[in-house]
């Protein structure tokens, strides 16, 4: 387990900035004087309290399976891929949001893209190819994706047209159970 390097930190924050509007809140000091830091272990990036990270130094790399919240993993080409486990961190400060109707929640959770017919609401002034968090109509975050069209363009779209390309959804907790946390 080690802290991130300059480049890695940039890559991770760059990816997070696609979805979160205010990044500063991520590393803001907590009430008890603690703060959150990023740690890397087995090419996975964890978002963890500093006190916990310090405690974890007593565990060897091989023995340490996971700590804090797993944000995603660094690929071999140096890019960063967000996992569904990062949803609780990006959902509260989401830059753009899409709410899907009840009839669209299941297809999304099974791994398909969001079509216009399933959209209940969407945030205004959303450009195309920007990150957005997908919510159910009861304001429960289901996953995140990338917008396929801008809001104005999407209005003219036919009901079967794709509005949001899925990046990750809660169904991955079951589908990718084996590889989500290790391997």
């Amino acid at each position: 387990m080690r802290p991130l390097t300059d480049e890695e930190m940039k890559t991770v924050l760059d990816k997070l900035a696609n979805y979160v509007s205010d990044l500063k809140s991520l590393i803001a000091p907590l009430e008890d004087g603690d703060r959150y830091v990023f740690r890397l272990n087995h090419s996975r990036v964890y978002y963890v309290k500093l006190s916990l990270a310090n405690l974890a130094t007593s565990i060897s790399r091989d023995a340490l399976l996971s700590l804090g919240t797993c944000l995603g993993k660094m690929t071999k080409t140096g890019k960063f891929r967000l996992h569904i486990t990062a949803l609780p961190i990006i959902a509260p400060g989401a830059r753009h949001k899409i709410w899907v109707k009840d009839n669209g929640a299941q297809p999304f959770l099974y791994g398909s893209n969001v079509v216009k017919a399933h959209v209940g609401r969407w945030s205004e002034d959303c450009p195309e190819h920007s990150g957005c968090v997908v919510y159910s109509m009861a304001d429960i975050p289901l996953g995140f994706g990338v917008t396929a069209r801008s809001t104005t363009e999407a209005r003219r779209l036919d009901p079967t047209g794709i509005v949001c390309f899925r990046q990750s959804d809660c169904g991955e907790y079951l589908r990718d159970e084996d590889t989500l946390f290790a391997g």
Binding site: R2, D6, I27, K76, K79, R95, D125, P127, E128
Partner: protein, 203 residues
């Protein structure tokens, strides 16, 4: 080309002059090389003979093959994939520099955020501009369509008016023609109206 030629000429001259005055090149090594080469290749042997203390130098020169790098030759580089994570910057200190203190983290964060905001802003601006252009085009197309429709209506109206005028202001001759036409029309219609009927014969 020029220097080799001059050398050849020199040897040629020496050979031709050898008959006349052979004591011009009286070195031992030269005679050895001559013996080794034999009568196979006269010219190269003579070339060697021309230079003093050459055998050792010659060997080393033959062994040395000039190796040029791609940059020296000016060959364009191959379009190979060099992933970002794999490239290692030269002249930098070995090892990783970790970002763990709050200040440097905040600096990077601010940089990234500003960059992202700029990107999104430019994207939005571009999208708005494109939307405006599309809207203008749509309005123009609608206008053209409306104009075309109005023109069509006008021509229809004018045609209707023309027909009415001809009916109202028609002369006796015209009326006869009209009647004939009408009769012909009704006649044809009557002929057309005649239908074949099928009835069963009474028992």
């Amino acid at each position: 080309m020029a220097p080799t030629r001059t050398v050849k000429n020199k040897h040629a001259a020496s050979k031709s002059g050898g008959a006349a005055g052979g004591k011009k090149f009286p070195s031992d090594g030269i005679s050895k090389t001559k013996g080794r080469s034999g009568s196979k290749a006269n010219l190269p042997a003579k070339q060697v003979r021309g230079r003093p203390n050459l055998p050792g130098l010659d060997k080393s020169k033959k062994k040395k093959k000039p190796v040029y790098t791609d940059k020296e030759l000016g060959i364009p580089e191959l379009n190979m994939i060099t992933p970002v994570g794999v490239t290692k910057p030269k002249g930098k200190k070995k090892g990783k520099v970790f970002v763990d203190d709050k200040e440097s983290m905040t600096t990077i964060l601010a940089l990234v955020q500003a960059e992202k905001e700029g990107q999104i802003e430019s994207k939005l601006m571009r999208a708005r501009q494109m939307e405006e252009i599309r809207e203008a085009r749509r309005v123009e197309a609608d206008k053209k369509e409306a104009e075309r429709k109005a023109k069509l209506e006008d021509t229809k109206d004018s045609l209707r008016r023309k027909r009415k005028r001809t009916k109202d202001g028609s002369t006796g001759k015209d009326q006869d023609e009209e009647n004939i036409k009408a009769v012909a029309a009704t006649g044809t219609k009557a002929a057309k109206a005649k239908k074949k009927r099928v009835s069963f014969a009474p028992e």
